[in-house]
C-alpha cells in the first residue's frame, strides 16, 4: 500500500541497517536463483538484472535512512530477436520490483500498438489512458513498441499515444513501470525519432541470441517440465535439427524450439497409436525416439516455419 518513499518519515530515519537481514527480508535471492535455474543462457541479461536488483535494494535502504531524494527511474527497454525471452524476463522483473516494493501490485499488462492506438480522432487518448489505468501499480509491457510511431503517415494517431505515455512515465513514476520491447535495430530507430523515450528509460537491456547448446538445454528443460525425454539418438537428431532450423527463415529462438517440440510430441503420439496391440510402459509414453525428430520437414529440405505466426 505505502510507497517506499513514504515508509519512513525523516524523523525516524535509521543510521545502521543489517544488509543481510534486509536482503533476506525482501527475498530477492529466491527470485534470482529461480531466474538462473529456469532461464538458460542470457548471461548479460541476468547480470544486468542482478545489478538492478542490487541497486534497488540499496535504494530501499537509502530510503529507510532518509537519504534517497528521488524515486529511481525504472522504465526499461528490452531489445533482442524473437524468442529470446523478453516477455518471460518482463514477468520476472515485475516480481522483483514487487518484492522490493517499487511497484505496489506486481502484475504485468502486456500490450501492443492495437491496444493503445485508436482508429479515429479522439479514440486514442481514452484507449491509452484506459490501459495506463489498468497497469497502475504494476508493469506495462509494450511489445514491438516501434509500431507506435509510424513516420510514413503524418496523421497517424500513434504520436498521440506516445505523448500520453511519456507524460505518465514522467509524472507517475512511482505508480507504474513501463517496459518497451522489440527488435534491436528497429527500437534504435524508434528511439532516434522519439528522443523523449530514450531519456525517460533508465535501463536498456539487450537480449542475445541463444547458442546451439543453449537451445538444446532449453528443449530438454521444456521436455522435462512436460515429463518427456529424448532418447540418445533423438538428442543427436535434435542437435542436427537445431543446426538446420537456425539457417532457415523465421527462426525465433526458444519459440521455434517450443513449436518443434509440440510437433515432435504430435508425431510421437501418432507413432504410439499406430500400433494398438501392446502394453505401454511409462517409459514408452515419455520417450521420444529419433524417428519422431527426423520426420520433420526441416530435414527433407522443407521449412518448418509456422505459417503466419506472429513473432516477437
Amino acid at each position: 500500500m505505502t510507497k517506499p518513499a513514504t515508509e519512513s518519515a525523516p524523523g525516524d530515519a535509521v543510521d545502521t541497517i543489517d544488509l543481510r537481514k534486509e536482503f533476506e527480508a525482501v527475498d530477492i535471492a529466491s527470485v534470482l536463483t529461480e531466474l538462473d535455474r529456469e532461464l538458460i543462457g542470457l548471461v548479460p541479461v541476468k547480470t544486468r538484472i542482478r545489478e538492478i536488483a542490487s541497486l534497488l535494494l540499496v535504494e530501499r535502504i537509502r530510503q529507510k535512512m532518509a537519504l534517497a531524494t528521488t524515486f529511481p527511474t525504472l522504465h526499461m527497454s528490452f531489445t533482442g530477436n524473437p524468442g529470446t525471452g523478453k516477455t518471460t524476463v518482463a514477468l520476472r522483473m515485475a516480481g522483483i520490483l514487487h518484492k522490493l516494493g517499487f511497484v505496489r501490485r506486481g502484475h504485468v499488462i502486456n500490450v501492443t500498438r492495437d491496444d493503445l492506438v485508436g482508429q479515429y480522432i479522439g479514440h486514442t487518448a481514452p484507449k491509452t489512458k484506459e490501459i495506463l489505468k489498468k497497469a497502475m501499480g504494476g508493469v506495462l509491457f509494450i511489445d514491438e513498441a516501434y509500431y507506435l510511431y509510424r513516420p510514413e503517415n503524418e496523421r497517424d494517431y500513434g504520436q498521440e499515444s506516445i505523448e500520453i505515455l511519456l507524460q505518465v512515465m514522467e509524472s507517475q513514476r512511482e505508480d507504474l513501470v513501463v517496459i518497451l520491447a522489440g527488435y534491436g535495430d528497429r527500437m534504435e530507430k524508434f528511439f532516434q525519432s522519439n528522443p523523449g523515450f530514450r531519456s525517460r528509460i533508465g535501463h536498456h537491456i539487450d537480449f542475445p541470441d541463444y547458442s546451439d547448446a543453449e537451445l538444446l538445454a532449453i528443449a530438454e528443460l521444456m521436455l522435462n517440465e512436460q515429463n518427456y525425454r529424448f532418447s540418445e539418438e533423438a538428442r543427436e537428431a535434435f542437435i542436427r535439427y537445431i543446426a538446420v532450423r537456425k539457417t532457415q527463415p523465421l527462426f525465433s529462438n526458444a519459440r521455434s524450439i517450443r513449436n518443434a517440440l509440440d510437433r515432435i510430441r504430435l508425431r510421437q503420439a501418432n507413432r504410439l497409436v499406430s500400433r494398438l496391440d501392446r502394453m505401454l510402459t511409462s517409459e514408452d509414453v515419455m520417450g521420444i525416439e529419433a524417428g519422431d525428430v527426423l520426420a520433420s520437414r526441416v530435414f527433407s529440405g522443407g521449412t518448418d516455419a509456422p505459417g503466419g505466426r506472429p513473432s516477437t
Binding site: M1, R104, R105, H107, P126, L132, K133, K134, M136, G137, G138, Q172, D175, L176
Partner: protein, 140 residues
C-alpha cells in the same frame, strides 16, 4: 448546510490518502469504481452525471485517483462522489458510495409548506442552489 449522503458523510471530509485507501478496498473486492458529479444536492437526485466510463478490471487506485483529480479540475465546484459497483451474481448493485468533493459554500435547503384542502399541509424541500441554472449553481 453540509450535505450528508452516502458513507462517511458525517465524518470530516476524507483526505486523498483516505480516499485512495477506500478505492483500493473497492478494487480488492473486485468492484468497478465510478466517479459521478452533480450540482443538484437534493437527496432524491439519485442519478448523477458520470465522469468517463466505469472503471473495470483495475488493480491499483492510482489510476482512479488520477481521474478524480482530472474531474476536480473541471468540476471542482460541484459535488463529486465515488461509487463501487459489485457485478457479482446476487448483488449486481452499488455497494459503496461516498462524497469526495463538495462546493465551498453549501447554502442548504428551503422547506416549503403548501396549504391544501382543509387544514392539511404538504411539505417539500428545495435546495437554494437549484434556483440558479445548472452549471452556475456554485459560483462556477
Amino acid at each position: 448546510m453540509r450535505v450528508t449522503q452516502g458513507c462517511f458523510s458525517f465524518l470530516p471530509d476524507l483526505t486523498d490518502e483516505q480516499i485512495t485507501a477506500q478505492v483500493q478496498y473497492c478494487l480488492e473486492k473486485g468492484w468497478a469504481v465510478n466517479i459521478e458529479f452533480t450540482d443538484d444536492p437534493h437527496p432524491r437526485n439519485t442519478y448523477w452525471e458520470m465522469w468517463g466510463l466505469p472503471m473495470f478490471d483495475l488493480r491499483d487506485a492510482a489510476g482512479i485517483m488520477r481521474e478524480l483529480s482530472e474531474c476536480r479540475r473541471v468540476y471542482g465546484d460541484r459535488y463529486i462522489r465515488m461509487s463501487g459497483f459489485d457485478s457479482s451474481h446476487g448483488w449486481e448493485s452499488v455497494r459503496i458510495s461516498f462524497i469526495v468533493n463538495r462546493p465551498k459554500e453549501e447554502p442548504g435547503f428551503r422547506l416549503e409548506r403548501q396549504e391544501i384542502g382543509g387544514r392539511s399541509i404538504r411539505y417539500t424541500t428545495r435546495a437554494y442552489a437549484v434556483d440558479r441554472p445548472e452549471g452556475e449553481r456554485y459560483g462556477g
